[in-house]
C-alpha cells in the first residue's frame, strides 16, 4: 500500500510542471482543508443545538436537555447533536421508485460542496486565508450561485409534486436575491477598492470606518438577502412545511437529508462570517484604534473577534426565525425585485458620487 503511494508521489514529482516545493504545498493545503472541514462541521453541529436551545428559551420552553456523554459536568443536552448524527446515519436512505436515482443522490452533494468550498477565501485571522486569491469576491458569488442546483435537482429528481414546487420556488427566490446581494457587494468593492477579502478587511481599519456605517443600507440588504439565500425563516417558503410539506427534501431520509441540513447550516455560518468581513471588519477588534494599552488579545485582531461576530449574526438568524411569521411567496418576490434592488442601485449611485468627491469613509480606496 505504501509503495503505491510512494510511486504516485514519485510520479507527480517527476512531472516537468512540478516545482520542488509543490508537493509540500499540496500536502499542507490538504491538511488545512481537513482541519477546516472538521471545525466547520463541529461548529455547525453545535449551531443546531444552539438553535433549539435559543428558540426554546424564546418560546418559553426548555429545548433538548437530556443527552450527555463522557460524564462531562457542563449543562445537559450538549451531546444532542452527536445523538442526532448517529440517528441519521443509522436510518435508511429511501430512494423513491420513480426517482432519477443518479441525480437524486447527486443533489445533496451539490448542495453541500459549494457551501464548504467558499470557506477557502474567508480570512480567518490577520494574514491567514486558505486561498488568498485576488478575485475572491467573484469566487464567492460564483460558488454561492451554484449552491441552488442541489435544491433544484433534488426537487426535480424526486419526481414528486411537492418537492418540485419547492424547487421552483428556490430557483426564483435565489435568482432574485442573488442580484440584490451582488449589488450590495459592489458597494463594498467600491468603498474598499478591492475584490480580495483580506484587502476589504484592511480597508476598514480606523475610527468609525467599518463599512456598516457608510454603507448601512447595503448592510441591511446584504444580511436579509443572505437569510433569503440560505432559505431560512422568514424566507423559508422553499420548504414551507405548512404548504408544501417539506419542499425539495420531502423524499429524502437519513444521511441524504442530513447533507441538505448540513449545507443549510454551513451557509448560515458562512453568511454570518461574510457579513462580518464585508461590513464589520472581519477579524478586527472593535477596540482597535480606540484603546492603545491593554492585553494584546483585546486590541489586536484575531480569530476570536471574527468568531464573536459570527456568533452574533447566527443569533440574529435564530432570533428572526423565532420572531417573524413566514413571508408569502409574492411578498418575497416583491421585496427582492422591487425594494432591495432599487435601494442598492440608489445607494451605489450615492456612493459613486461620494467616491468621486472624496468624501469621508467612502474614499478609502
Amino acid at each position: 500500500m505504501s509503495s503505491v503511494i510512494d510511486n504516485a508521489l514519485a510520479f507527480i514529482k517527476s512531472l516537468p510542471g512540478s516545482t520542488p516545493g509543490s508537493m509540500e504545498f499540496v500536502v499542507w493545503t490538504v491538511v488545512i482543508a481537513v482541519v477546516m472541514f472538521l471545525s466547520i462541521i463541529i461548529f455547525m453541529a453545535f449551531l443546531t443545538l444552539a438553535e433549539r436551545r435559543v428558540i426554546g428559551s424564546m418560546q418559553a420552553r426548555i429545548g433538548p436537555n437530556r443527552i450527555k456523554a463522557f460524564g462531562l459536568p457542563i449543562f445537559r443536552g450538549y451531546a444532542q447533536p452527536f445523538a442526532d448524527v448517529i440517528k441519521l446515519m443509522l436510518k435508511e436512505i429511501i430512494i423513491p421508485s420513480s426517482a432519477n436515482k443518479f441525480l437524486f443522490l447527486l443533489a445533496p452533494l451539490l448542495a453541500a460542496i459549494p457551501a464548504l468550498a467558499i470557506w477557502a477565501i474567508v480570512p480567518l485571522w490577520p494574514g491567514f486565508t486558505v486561498a488568498n486569491i485576488n478575485a475572491g469576491l467573484l469566487y464567492y458569488l460564483a460558488l454561492a450561485s451554484t449552491g441552488v442546483y442541489g435544491i433544484i435537482l433534488a426537487g426535480w429528481a424526486s419526481n414528486s409534486k411537492y418537492a418540485f414546487l419547492g424547487a421552483m420556488r428556490a430557483a426564483a427566490q435565489v435568482v432574485a436575491y442573488e442580484l440584490a446581494m451582488g449589488f450590495a457587494i459592489i458597494g463594498v468593492v467600491m468603498a474598499s477598492g478591492s475584490l480580495n477579502l483580506g484587502d476589504i478587511i484592511e480597508a476598514q481599519r480606523g475610527h468609525f470606518s467599518w463599512f456598516f456605517i457608510p454603507l448601512f443600507p447595503l448592510f441591511i440588504v446584504y444580511f436579509i438577502s443572505g437569510i433569503a439565500e440560505t432559505n431560512r425563516a422568514p424566507f423559508d417558503v422553499v420548504e414551507g412545511e405548512s404548504e408544501i410539506v417539506a419542499g425539495f427534501h420531502v423524499d429524502y431520509s437519513g444521511m441524504a437529508f442530513a447533507l441538505f441540513f448540513v449545507a443549510e447550516y454551513i451557509n448560515m455560518i458562512l453568511i454570518s462570517a461574510l457579513t462580518s468581513v464585508f461590513f464589520f471588519g472581519g477579524w478586527m477588534s472593535p477596540l482597535d484604534g480606540w484603546v492603545t494599552s491593554g492585553p494584546a488579545w483585546l486590541i489586536h485582531g484575531s480569530l476570536l473577534w471574527l468568531w464573536l461576530k459570527i456568533c452574533f449574526f447566527l443569533f440574529c438568524f435564530l432570533w428572526f426565525r423565532a420572531t417573524f411569521p413566514r413571508y408569502r411567496y409574492d411578498q418575497i418576490m416583491r421585496l427582492g425585485w422591487k425594494v432591495f434592488i432599487p435601494v442598492t442601485l440608489v445607494w451605489i449611485a450615492v456612493e459613486a458620487v461620494m467616491v468621486i468627491l472624496k468624501v469621508g469613509p467612502w474614499s478609502a480606496s
Binding site: I12, L15, P16, G17, S18, L103, I133, N134, A135, L138, Y139, L141, A142, L143, A144, S145, T146, V148, Y149, I152, L153, W156, F164, A167, M168, A171, A172, V174, V175, E178, L195, D330, Q331, R334
Partner: protein, 207 residues
Amino acid sequence: MTFTEILFYVFSAILVISSIGVITARNPVHSALFLVFAFFNSAVLWLLMDAEFLAIVLVLVYVGAVMVLFLFVVMMLDINVAQMRAGFTKFAPLGIVVALIVIAEIGSVVWLKSSAIDAAALGASSGVAAPAAAEGYSNTQALGELLYTQYLYPLELASVLLLVAIVAAISLTMHKRTGQKVQDINAQVAVNAKDRIRIVKMVTEKE
C-alpha cells in the same frame, strides 16, 4: 508533457464529451445539466490560462443565473421528445451546413490570431508560447483597465443593447389580463389592527 498540459487534455476531453451529451441526451433536463457541466469545464480551461476573471464570470453568469432559469423553464415544460426528433433527417443537411460555416469561421479566426501572435513572437523570441505573466499580475485588473479605457464605447454600447433587450422583454409581459386576482401590497402594508379587529365590550353573562 507538463502537468498543466495533462490537465488541459483531461478537461478538454470531458468538455467535448459533455458537449456531445448536450445534443444527444434524450431528456431535456439532462441536456441542460450536461451544458452546466460543459460550462464548468471550459471555466477550468480558462483558469489554466490564468484568465481567472473570465472563468469565474462564466460560472457566475451562465451556471449561476442563466442555466438556473433555463432549468426552471425546461422542467416546467412538457416537452415531447419524439415530436422534436421527428424532423431530424429533414433538417440535418441545413444543420450540417451551418455547423461547417461556424467551424470555418472559428478556424479562420484562430488561424489569423495565431499567425499574428507568431509574427509578434518571432520578433521577441522563438516559439509560440505566450509570455509568462509578470509577478503580481491580476487578470481582473488588466481586463477592467482595458474595458474602461480602450474599449469604453463598445462596452457602453453592449450594455445599452442589453438594457433595450430587458425593456423589450419586460414590455412583452406588461399586458393586463382580465379576471386576474392581484394583491394590492400598499393596501396590505397600510392596514392597521383597528381595521381588522373589533373589540366588543360586553357584560359577563351568568348561567
